[in-house]
């Protein structure tokens, strides 16, 4: 892209910030013609370290699982190939879980990307718009013949994630500094992430619950969501699942579907 006269400095300064193979840009200098190598490296270091720190702040459980050295090497690699596109750092790292799935040294931890996806959803829920959760009394007031057509308006913070691994248990065990007992990672788990008021909560969904929650959060009617859930699991308990989702704060209000 052409630059206006006299404004090419950023195009010259920027490329080496995240590329250690490039040399110090032309045009920068120390005082009285002194070299600018280590001086320019201050900017390189600020950029790289602050972006790694941003990923560490978004993915603390992943860092605890891998250890800081492993995490920072993995994050450095990601930062260099995928720097943020937005100045809002809490939006950064959306493609980091997929990067982990491809990252050569993380192949022994196949559940790591799903744990990361829960952490990313946790932060999205944390910053989501405020809304009052649906009161359980509202559902009791619906006449039984309208139930199948009922549509739930999702809370802005509500998210549902599915994993082939025990991602919720691993996530929960590593979000603080308490000792971690041995976890069987091979049990599939599904997560419901909500923030009814100001505290983000992450819970495991029962069998069929993820299909059910996912359909409802997508705006599908209750009857259709229940059928899909029963297809997914014969153990699916509709009453317990509706009560659980409402209690978790997954919805804000009710609407009737197509009449």
């Amino acid at each position: 892209m052409p630059h206006e006269a006299g404004l090419s400095f950023a195009a010259s300064f920027a490329p080496a910030l995240l590329d250690p193979a490039r040399s110090t840009p032309d045009g920068v200098t120390g005082p009285n013609g002194k070299a600018a190598g280590r001086r320019y490296d201050v900017y390189r270091n600020n950029v790289t370290v602050s972006l790694i720190d941003a990923l560490a702040a978004i993915y603390p459980a992943v860092q605890r699982i891998t250890g800081a050295d492993f995490f920072r090497a993995m994050a450095r690699s990601h930062v260099r190939s995928n720097p943020p596109a937005s100045p809002l750092l809490f939006e950064y790292g959306r493609d980091f879980p997929d990067f982990m799935a491809r990252y050569e040294h993380a192949q022994a931890m196949p559940w790591l990307p799903d744990v990361a996806r829960i952490e990313r959803a946790w932060l999205d829920a944390y910053h989501a718009a405020d809304a009052l959760p649906l009161s359980p009394a509202r559902l009791s007031a619906v006449t039984p013949n309208r139930l199948a057509d009922l549509v739930f308006v999702p809370h802005p913070a509500a998210r549902c994630l599915r994993s082939q691994y025990a991602a919720v248990t691993i996530f929960a065990a590593n979000r603080d500094d308490a000792p971690v007992a041995r976890i069987d990672a091979s049990t599939p788990e599904d997560a419901l992430i909500t923030r009814p008021e100001f505290d983000v909560t992450v819970r495991r969904l029962p069998p069929g619950g993820a299909v059910f929650a996912d359909r409802l959060i997508s705006g599908r009617p209750l009857g259709e969501a229940a059928s899909s859930a029963l297809e997914a699991s014969s153990e699916f308990d509709i009453a317990a699942n509706i009560a659980g989702l409402i209690e978790a704060g997954a919805f804000t209000s009710l609407a009737c579907g197509d009449q």
């Binding site: 950023a10 920027a14 972006l51």
Partner: protein, 305 residues
């Protein structure tokens, strides 16, 4: 709030500064300090936040900021507008910034003479620019756009830098003075940045301050710095904002206040955050200096626009 902060008129109406909060010392607001701050109750002073941290839709950050704002003046400090960059300002980001100003009615609104975004990448650092007629025109155009959006003057902060550009054709102080004259913006004088840049580029901090348009200064920043070495092994100071204010910076600050009169002064502390009493003690030290000079009438407020 005073009516001067409600700038709803057409663009032709002159921009007005919000009601001055006087010569008080404030601190960066860090959410981990919220319980200690609330427990202490309302106090003299103000809090400054990085605007970008409050650009989410909802949740705990806004709840904390509302709690702080209820009892204290607020300073909204933008970090990512890329005012010093050659690219057009990000309109979405500008709209978010305007929204925060409207929602929280801050007493002070500031941004940096620096850039952080180029093409599609955000670098999360305050990057330097050459001082030329071309960059001056570009910076002034960007500040005009910001002031148009927020309907009030912006305070522009002098940078700390580690490199200079061979193409620069004017001094930093001449550049900043020209920006203030052309755009009507106010200035945020970061005294630590002056000390850091003076050391790094081998000029006199006192001479810089003598050339700086102090009458346009409406806020001061103080912060700690770290020491490294350049290619020749000479001292290179890093604007790390991770420790107490250095003695030399306190001395420069007192000189500035003696010349300028008392203006809102912020203790900036952004990493290795200490317990609240440690940060508060730095603000108390700044307040003591301000109080020694409260009688002096700030030059820029004798004939406020």
């Amino acid at each position: 709030m005073s009516t001067v902060t409600k700038s709803t008129g057409p663009a032709a109406v002159p921009l007005r500064f919000a009601t001055p909060i006087g010569g008080v010392a404030g601190t960066s607001f860090k959410p981990e300090h919220l319980p200690a701050i609330l427990e202490g109750g309302p106090r003299r002073g103000f809090f400054e936040v990085h605007a970008e941290n409050y650009m989410g839709a909802g949740g705990p950050p806004h709840r904390a900021l509302e709690a702080i704002r209820r009892d204290h003046p607020l300073s909204l400090h933008g970090v990512c507008m890329s005012i010093g960059g050659p690219r057009p300002l990000d309109k979405t980001h500008l709209a978010r910034f305007r929204g925060l100003v409207a929602r929280y009615q801050p007493a002070l609104v500031s941004e940096h003479l620096a850039w952080s975004t180029h093409e599609t990448s955000f670098f999360n650092d305050l990057l330097p620019l050459p001082y030329t007629e071309a960059t001056l025109a570009c910076v002034c155009d960007h500040i005009d756009q910001v002031q148009e959006a927020i309907r009030r003057p912006l305070l522009l902060e002098n940078p700390s830098t580690y490199v200079a550009f061979r193409e620069s054709s004017m001094s930093e102080t001449d550049f900043i003075r020209a920006v203030a004259e052309r755009t009507g913006c106010g200035l945020l004088l970061d005294v630590n940045n002056v000390f850091v840049s003076a050391t790094n580029h081998g000029f006199s901090a006192l001479e810089y301050l003598a050339n700086f348009p102090l009458s346009q200064v409406r806020e001061i920043h103080l912060a700690g710095h770290a020491e490294q070495a350049d290619d020749e092994g000479d001292l290179l100071l890093i604007d790390s904002q991770d420790g107490p204010v250095a003695d030399a910076v306190w001395k420069l600050y007192e000189i500035v206040i003696r010349l300028r009169g008392a203006v809102p002064t912020l203790i900036e502390w952004d990493s290795k955050i200490p317990d609240w009493p440690v940060l508060q003690a730095e603000a108390i030290a700044a307040q003591a200096i301000l109080d020694r000079h409260q009688s002096a009438v700030p030059a820029g407020e004798r004939h406020a626009a």
